[in-house]
Symmetry: C2
Subunit: 157 residues, 2 copies
């Protein structure tokens, strides 16, 4: 089972490809933080993110796509724009014939820390015990995408 996981955002889109074979530990094949410029109009940013997602699907041939679904943000407009990114990713994945799994932040926290109210720091602390990470320090969005991928591999049969 190979999953392409995203932590959706329009400034920074976290992406990760994880794989788990029966009875084996999860392995991380790839992770990246895709950025778009605030100088571009929103539809161009969505297009850039979507094209990158399409290229990742083509390259890594995942069996499923996993997304973190966030219902509330401090800013309602931000939440809606992040939802637009999620919609574009969902469309692209479904068009490629892939199942799309969405996980709430609380489900991700339970999968990674065993506790639904874990903090970002708890996730960052637990992740290296669950999966081998590259030595280079990873930024939040990339770690979040890896956490979403772990959640998906733990949930999907």
């Amino acid at each position: 089972m190979r999953v392409l996981a995203f932590d959706p955002g329009y400034e920074r889109l976290g992406a990760a490809v994880l794989e788990k074979e029966k009875g084996q530990k999860e392995i991380l094949l790839f992770s990246e933080c895709i950025r778009t410029s605030a100088k571009l109009d929103f539809s161009t940013r969505i297009k850039q993110l979507g094209k990158t997602a399409e290229a990742l699907i083509k390259k890594w041939k995942p069996d499923a796509v996993a997304l973190e679904e966030v219902f509330f943000e401090k800013n309602a407009k931000t939440a809606l724009q992040v939802a637009e990114v999620r919609g574009a990713l969902t469309y692209i994945a479904a068009s490629c014939g892939l199942p799309v799994h969405q996980y709430t932040p609380s489900a991700v926290k339970v999968a990674v820390t065993g506790y639904g109210r874990g903090t970002k720091a708890d996730i960052a602390y637990m992740l290296p015990t669950l999966i081998a990470l590259p030595k280079k320090l990873r930024i939040d969005d990339e770690l979040d995408a890896i956490a979403v991928g772990i959640t998906c591999l733990a949930s999907v049969r």
Copy 2:
């Protein structure tokens, strides 16, 4: 100038194609309400709506796509799911090289009724004075898409 306008939704997506030639009145070339079944999972519904939008772009070859952007709904989850549909439509339009224009409900009301707090009934009353509509009674989503198209034709130079 030809515009493909949408009133985004996942249960019902209003779509309309309007055209305006210099010095002429707007004409309605097409309108439809695209429905998806609540029995389908959300990603399948997004895929169906997106595929229909792609087919409409291919058939009608618009110069631009216009969407109504709604920031608030009674239900936050509904607002986010409608935003996901908007994101998929934005991605599809931008991928086809089309500019994407978003209009708030208030901008649509100003364009159609001359008043930003007009009601749905005001829009339904004013629309036939602005554009020739088919005799068949149109449902709300279709009328809303036509109103978004009129707003776009009135705003874009």
